[in-house]
Symmetry: C2
Subunit: 259 residues, 2 copies
């Protein structure tokens, strides 16, 4: 195989949909889309000129690449079924941040992990989505890197161990920062303050780290060791035990950081 041209997609969720659409848009041929629910397979397949199916044996069995974009728990099982059916020349990848590449147990396998928070019906500029590539087989890794570069300008070689740590880091960077937004929105709601007031601040805080490390960009009462404000805030949080604990812990960490 000189380059990957024909692709089948297993899955019909956020990652499968966004990835399927951008692959189709960049001129790759999507042979088939598999979903346990035929209606879901059809929905995606229709958008990208592919054949929908809900049974593995109905998949095109000669694709260059099979992308498994299903929930982490289901990857192993899907890969096991797939390997028995498809051509020995085909490559299998999954798109998970936390599942080891060995889970695929296929001769030709790898990982194709687009690191972005995808939401259905929300457009993403794929050119700026980092794609993390890994394969134990150098030739396959080259093919996957070349494919990824057709979709994005940010393509990284990241091995299994690094990817698993990166996924952990992403939980802090995205899931937990969103949780901080939630705690802020709750405080606003309880005090009849429009949460929109905070949105420019949130966006600026995220934008700033383009220009400097989060360590350098840290501001606030804990960074200033402003104990008066910290104590005032803690007393304001008396009713919300969970938020108070987060406030304490984060402030303590930040204080330590600038000792």
């Amino acid at each position: 195989m000189r380059s990957i041209k024909h692709i089948s997609i297993i899955g019909s969720g956020n990652v499968a949909t966004h990835l399927g659409c951008v692959l189709h848009k960049r001129g790759l041929i999507i042979d088939s889309v598999f979903s346990r629910k035929l209606s879901r397979a059809k929905k995606l397949a229709n958008q990208i000129s592919a054949k929908p199916c809900s049974k593995f044996k109905q998949l095109n069995l000669e694709s260059d690449l099979y992308i498994i974009a299903v929930s982490d728990d289901a990857i192993k099982e899907v890969a096991n079924k797939l390997v028995k059916l498809i051509s020995a020349d085909s490559i299998i990848v999954h798109t998970s941040g936390s599942v080891n590449s060995r889970a695929l147990k296929a001769g030709k396998s790898g990982v194709f992990y687009p690191l972005q928070s995808f939401t259905i019906n929300r457009d993403v500029d794929f050119r700026s989505v980092p794609i993390c590539i890994h394969s134990a087989d150098e030739k396959i890794e080259k093919l996957l890197l070349a494919l990824a570069r057709k979709l994005s300008k940010s393509v990284y070689r990241i091995n299994d161990d690094q990817r698993s740590k990166l996924h952990l880091a992403a939980v802090f960077a995205s899931n937990f920062s969103n949780h901080m937004y939630h705690l802020a929105s709750k405080i606003c709601e309880e005090n009849e303050v429009d949460f929109n007031v905070l949105k420019p601040l949130i966006l600026e805080t995220a934008t700033k780290i383009k220009d400097g490390s989060p360590h350098d960009m840290q501001t606030g009462p804990a960074r200033r060791r402003d104990t008066t404000t910290i104590n005032k805030h803690l007393s304001q949080l008396a009713k919300d035990k969970a938020a108070k604990e987060i406030y304490k812990l984060a402030s303590m960490n930040i204080k330590k950081q600038y000792k």
Copy 2:
């Protein structure tokens, strides 16, 4: 006073500088800039055609408005000195998120709180900076609202109690989300992964809340109740006790949120 035209600024830090520059840019006249260090007063005053000074009595004493943009601890003291010197018609405001407006003890006073994270030498589009206005005196509040609307399209009336809660919310939304970025960057560094891989995700997470509440936008293992991944992450954090505690607490909170 029909409208505020002549302004003096007390302070030469981030807020004083950004505010002074935008007021000057929008055609307001900056009479004087006070800083305890004359060199600092000069630096800002030169940019905005104002008279620099390092002694209170050297201030222009007939400005329409005095903006106290100094650290929270110093506001009361500055206001006390100012009140004895300036014209009885002049208005005094501070720019703090957490100090009560009563701290000014002036006849004509209020709060002019621009809610953004300012960094020196980093341009901010002031049009989108929310400005929170308050005065116990309705006429003064109107004058301050009119002035704020010359600078920004997001102007809010926020009373003392609400502003204090908003400031608390801002600590979560900005300082603590930045701390989450820091914890993520630390994990990257320790595993020789380029932190740049995470930046598009961080930006997308912040951008998303324009379109929906953080509650609706929450993703990740805790939201999915994916105990396998959570436990794997906790074991990966064995060496970093502080990060582990944050991970536990945030995950527990998120789980509760979607019960």
